[in-house]
């Protein structure tokens, strides 16, 4: 299940639906990213390239499933205006053993960060600024080469 949506989602409800859908999984990992209020942040505005987002995420999920033998992997990613404390996205992975479930979730996060067509704009009392990609995020991808 991959969903790109502006609506909020429920982490716990999604985690339970994911877990119920699994058979043979010994390990289930979830990751969720939350808007932090650093430096007086008021809101995050997320823009995405609609026609490219789903195919790009589908490719990452296929790669993660094949590479780590995942039984399943779900991705939810929001766009639009999000306020501090709101969940931006989540990933859920399942595998027979814990190492693969963890590695699959980390792989997906590293690729979503730098290869899924989303861009974040920070809104503060004194103005707005686009979030710059971090060198460390690009470097994280080399870990999987």
């Amino acid at each position: 299940m991959i969903s790109v949506q502006s609506a909020p989602f429920d982490l716990g409800d999604t985690a339970n639906r994911f877990a119920s859908a699994q058979s043979g999984a010994g390990a289930i990992v979830t990751f969720s990213g939350v808007v932090r209020g650093d430096g007086g942040l008021i809101a995050l505005e997320i823009e995405h390239y609609d026609a490219m987002t789903l195919p790009a995420i589908e490719e990452m999920v296929s790669a993660a499933r094949a590479r780590f033998g995942l039984l399943d992997a779900w991705v939810i990613h929001r766009y639009g205006r999000l306020t501090v404390g709101e969940a931006i996205m989540m990933v859920a992975t399942s595998a027979p053993h814990r190492k693969d479930a963890f590695a699959g979730a980390e792989f997906l996060m590293d690729y979503l960060k730098s290869r899924a067509p989303f861009w974040k704009k920070e809104h503060r009392a004194d103005g707005t600024a686009w979030v710059a990609a971090k060198d460390s995020d690009e470097a994280a991808l080399t870990h999987w080469d």
Binding site: Y49, A116, W119, W130, A133
Partner: protein
């Protein structure tokens, strides 16, 4: 005729998110040269290509890529998902 789309600060700097361009450009780099010549907004957006990424027909590629029968070319800064 090719559709060119812009995201994030490229969209803001150029002042539009999408335009139709009549072009004979054979590569992304040639298309960028044509777009940069349109006006000072385009020129500013493409002034430092190290800060720009490109996708042809929704697939990430580089500036040497051929346009061939491409329908849509997208320009944007490095992605910040997750």
């Amino acid at each position: 005729m090719i559709t060119v789309v812009y995201f994030a600060w490229l969209r803001e700097r150029i002042g539009l998110g999408r335009e139709q361009i009549e072009t004979q450009a054979k590569t992304v780099a040639q298309l960028v040269a044509e777009l940069s010549a349109l006006d000072s907004y385009h020129a500013a957006a493409f002034s430092d290509l190290r800060a720009v990424r490109v996708a042809v027909d929704q697939v990430l590629t580089d500036f040497d890529a051929p346009l061939a029968n491409a329908k849509e070319v997208a320009f944007f800064p490095p992605m910040t998902g997750g």
